[in-house]
């Protein structure tokens, strides 16, 4: 059964610099990082030491809480160094990649013939388990839990997001194998763009849903809230297309192959296009895209609304298939707010005139465009970009107050910070709403554990 769901609320943030639909480069990075910080709430245990040889798929880290959750190396090579921060906190394991890639052989299997237990075991062993994200809270799924369902978003509406059809269309068979495999664990719901259904509308062994609307219609959290909202005590899992492709290849080829197409985009990107690379690739490998020094550029792994500022020395995060390069907006703007028209700036507010030029894209930078203030506009101002049945300001204030009872009532189980990213974008009071929600979720994790 399929449903058509039209979302009227939302906003497509018109950032300049969309990636051309072509692969301009295949990167074989010299060094690849495995970073615990890519996974929320992970306390890592180190399984390798400097100088150890690893294959693509060999475990590098394990989860201290669930020792069977492993994190594997995306490439074969040698452990170059282990980077630690304050109080010896593990920041990254750097792996020097071989020129010729060698893979751990996990054996080819037909996912349709496996039981749920066998699928779980295979994913845990191979280090692909961390692709499962549990909601509520956005942490790595508990391997012993029985989720109500597994959700996949087959399109991405975030600003300059990688085109899923271009990135994963040619991996359709792997994704189908992945869907079949995870459907052995729980029912799979795949949300497809109603305006561009091919090829994911042909997926089998899952329930298809068709969504139409502006960002955040492609956010899996928003889709879940329209398919079956999460209630207290329930857990659902989500998995990305990149994850499904990797899972599919594990069963069809018997190896861990995390290579993916990554969109390099943004106003600062020269020749914005796609490259094929591994998660953990250093940003310095993107040198042809940022040209000169890259000093005034912010390197965002992910999209500009909820990606991470990884810096020029950072690495592509485990789940991301997009790197956005954007200018640091450190210049002051004379009489900015008082000018009747600011032609170069985008605003969703009617007090500016961006609404007159609907197709235009803007050279956005990281300037805050104002000073932080308490919430002044009321809930409805923010709710117009949030197609979920919740009150965003009430939820944010409950998180600020640390009031667990109210956080539950206002829907903390249904959201991750990324779902409220647009509320943060349009906020004239310049509050860090995503940070408020993240702190609320941390509190829930601490109190409810």
């Amino acid at each position: 059964m399929s449903q058509n769901i039209v979302l009227k609320k939302g906003l497509n943030v018109p950032v300049k610099g969309a990636a051309d639909l072509r692969v301009s480069k295949t990167v074989a990075p010299a060094v690849v990082a495995v970073q615990p910080s890519d996974f929320k709430g992970l306390v890592p245990r180190l399984l390798v030491k400097e100088g150890d040889p690893v294959l693509a798929g060999s475990p590098v880290l394990a989860d201290k809480m669930h020792s069977d959750i492993l994190f594997s190396s995306p490439v074969s090579g040698k452990v170059k160094s282990i980077v630690r921060g304050d109080k010896r906190k593990l920041l990254a394991v750097l792996i020097e990649a071989d020129e010729e890639q060698k893979y751990v052989d996990f054996g080819k299997k037909n996912p349709a013939e496996l039981s749920g237990e066998e699928v779980r075991k295979a994913l845990l062993e191979s280090g692909l388990w961390p692709f499962f994200v549990q909601r509520p809270y956005g942490i790595i799924a508990d391997p012993e839990a029985a989720p109500k369902a597994i959700f996949v978003s087959a399109f991405n509406t975030a600003p300059l997001a990688a085109d899923t059809k271009f990135c994963y269309g040619d991996e359709f068979n792997a994704i189908q194998a992945g869907v079949t495999a995870v459907s052995r664990i729980a029912n799979v719901h795949v949300s497809v763009n109603a305006e561009d259904k091919e090829p994911f509308c042909k997926l089998e062994n899952c329930e298809l849903h068709f969504f139409k609307g502006k960002h955040p219609a492609g956010n899996v959290g928003v889709q879940i809230s329209h398919i079956c909202p999460i209630q207290k005590g329930q857990t659902v899992w989500t998995v990305s297309l990149a994850g499904l492709a990797a899972i599919g290849k594990l069963f069809t080829k018997g190896k861990v192959d995390l290579r993916r197409k990554v969109a390099v985009c943004g106003p600062m990107a020269i020749d914005a296009s796609y490259l094929v690379t591994y998660p953990g690739t250093p940003m310095t490998e993107l040198a042809p895209f940022y040209g000169t020094t890259g000093d005034e550029t912010r390197f965002v792994s992910g999209d500009v609304l909820s990606g991470a500022n990884v810096g020029k020395d950072g690495y592509l995060r485990f789940q991301d298939d997009q790197v956005t390069l954007i200018r640091e907006g450190v210049e002051k703007e004379l009489l900015g707010w008082i000018r009747p028209i600011r032609y170069k700036q985008f605003s969703n507010d009617r007090s500016y005139f961006s609404w007159l030029m609907p197709g235009r894209t803007y050279d956005m930078d990281t300037n805050l465009h104002g000073g932080p203030r308490p919430f002044l506009m009321n809930d409805g101002y923010y709710a117009k970009v949030l197609p979920m049945d919740i009150y965003p300001v009430f939820l944010a204030k409950a998180c600020l107050a640390g009031d667990i009872d109210k956080m539950e009532k206002f829907g903390i189980y249904e959201v991750l910070p990324e779902d409220l990213a647009l509320c943060e974008f349009i906020d004239p009071s310049k509050n860090n709403i995503q940070d408020m929600i993240a702190k609320g979720i941390d509190l829930m994790l601490k109190e409810m554990a």
Binding site: N367, G371, F375
Partner: protein, 372 residues
């Protein structure tokens, strides 16, 4: 910023003030540190300046009207646009100076104490206050009322965005209860020069009115009220000037159309009911033109901080304000105009309305999920 204004510098006590002026001139070069890396170009300064622009027609008309009413009282005729406007401007200017000096002074000081940036909320309140007080109010009284409203209405709650009551209306309520002699009666709504009194015979227009003087306007013609050539507080008389502002506020979405529509609907309903029941013989639509109803509906009830947050709540809040205001007018001839207190009362109850609306929503959602 010069380092002597930074923490540890000699003039650190001026930090918030200097920062306020600097950010007034420039959009600062601060970048996003957390969350969304890009942000919308809009900020509170932009939104609040639009509210001031929206109220400008009412203020400009009000200044002319101050002169016009004075002229009428002196037995003159004609509209003398520039002459009357200049007279009114000179009368209203001191009110603005006092309102902003006292209000912003307290705002700057408390921002410094809290170590925060100065919020621009008072830009709007300070612009409204002279528009809703009698033009001849003694300046020391206004200063006292502004200080009360800003300190006890706003700063003690944590500043702009945290207040329960609309600071401009609180100023007026303070004046109303502390100095009733200056806020009612037949002469307070018309400006006089020192030593002048009305030329009684020549002055046969409506007796003065205002937010609390509506019944005095009964009998005034529709067009006089609509255009606003009647005595009253500075900014509240001209319905057409207020409507111009309403259009801007509604178009930009800063004010809620639900609150405005609710107020009008509530007022019309009670007005019509009163007419049917024989309590009054005034047509219900005239109620929208009397006194401070229009100004209160457009500029005061829609204050996003003190009104209801939820969309359903806005309807309830608006309708109740409209109903309460007209109910007071119909049943209490002694205290004839209820707009100010209707709004302040509903400001008080707005969080309760929101609580009921969100609780009902949560229960409904839970029930729906149980069935599904």
């Amino acid at each position: 910023m010069n380092p002597i204004f930074e923490k540890g510098g000699k003039l650190y006590w001026l930090h918030s003030t200097i920062d306020a002026f600097e950010t007034f001139l420039h959009v600062p070069g601060t970048v996003t540190l957390k969350g969304s890396h890009v942000r919308d170009a809009v900020d509170l300064k932009r939104i609040l300046i639009l509210v001031v622009i929206a109220a400008a027609p009412a203020a400009l008309f009000g200044m002319w009207n101050v002169g016009y009413q004075h002229g009428l009282a002196m037995g003159q005729s004609g509209i003398h646009i520039l002459e009357y406007f200049w007279f009114g401007f000179l009368k209203v200017l001191p009110l603005y100076i006092v309102s902003y000096l006292v209000g912003l002074g307290i705002e700057f000081a408390s921002s410094q104490i809290r170590g925060e940036e100065v919020s621009e909320g008072y830009l709007v309140s300070g612009f409204f206050i002279p528009l809703i007080v009698p033009v001849d109010i003694p300046l020391w009284m206004l200063a006292l009322a502004v200080a009360f409203a800003v300190i006890f209405g706003k700063e003690v709650f944590g500043g702009t965005g945290m207040n329960i009551w609309n600071p401009a209306l609180l100023t007026r309520a303070f004046l109303f209860f502390s100095y009733p002699n200056y806020m009612s009666g037949s002469e307070c709504w018309i400006a006089f020069k020192k030593g002048e009194t009305a030329v009684a015979d020549a002055f046969t227009g409506a007796t003065p009115l205002a937010l609390d003087g509506a019944p005095a306007q009964y009998g005034t013609g529709f067009w006089d009220l609509f255009i606003g050539t009647v005595p009253g507080s500075v900014g509240e008389t001209s319905v057409i000037a207020i409507l111009l502002g309403a259009i801007l506020l509604l178009w930009t979405g800063i004010a809620s159309w639900k609150i405005m529509a609710g107020c009008v609907a509530g007022a019309l309903a009670v007005g019509a009911l009163g007419q049917c029941a024989g309590i009054t013989d005034i047509p219900c639509y005239m109620q929208l033109l009397y006194g401070g109803f229009a100004f209160g509906t457009v500029f005061m009830a829609t204050d996003p901080v003190t009104s209801c947050q939820t969309e359903t709540g806005k309807w309830i809040y608006g309708v109740l304000i409209g109903m309460l205001c007209i109910t007071v007018r119909l049943f209490n001839p002694g205290y004839a105009e209820g707009m100010m207190l209707a709004i302040l009362l509903l400001n008080t109850f707005a969080p309760l309305i929101d609580h009921c609306v969100t609780s009902a929503h949560i229960n409904r959602k839970a029930k729906k999920l149980k069935v599904a």
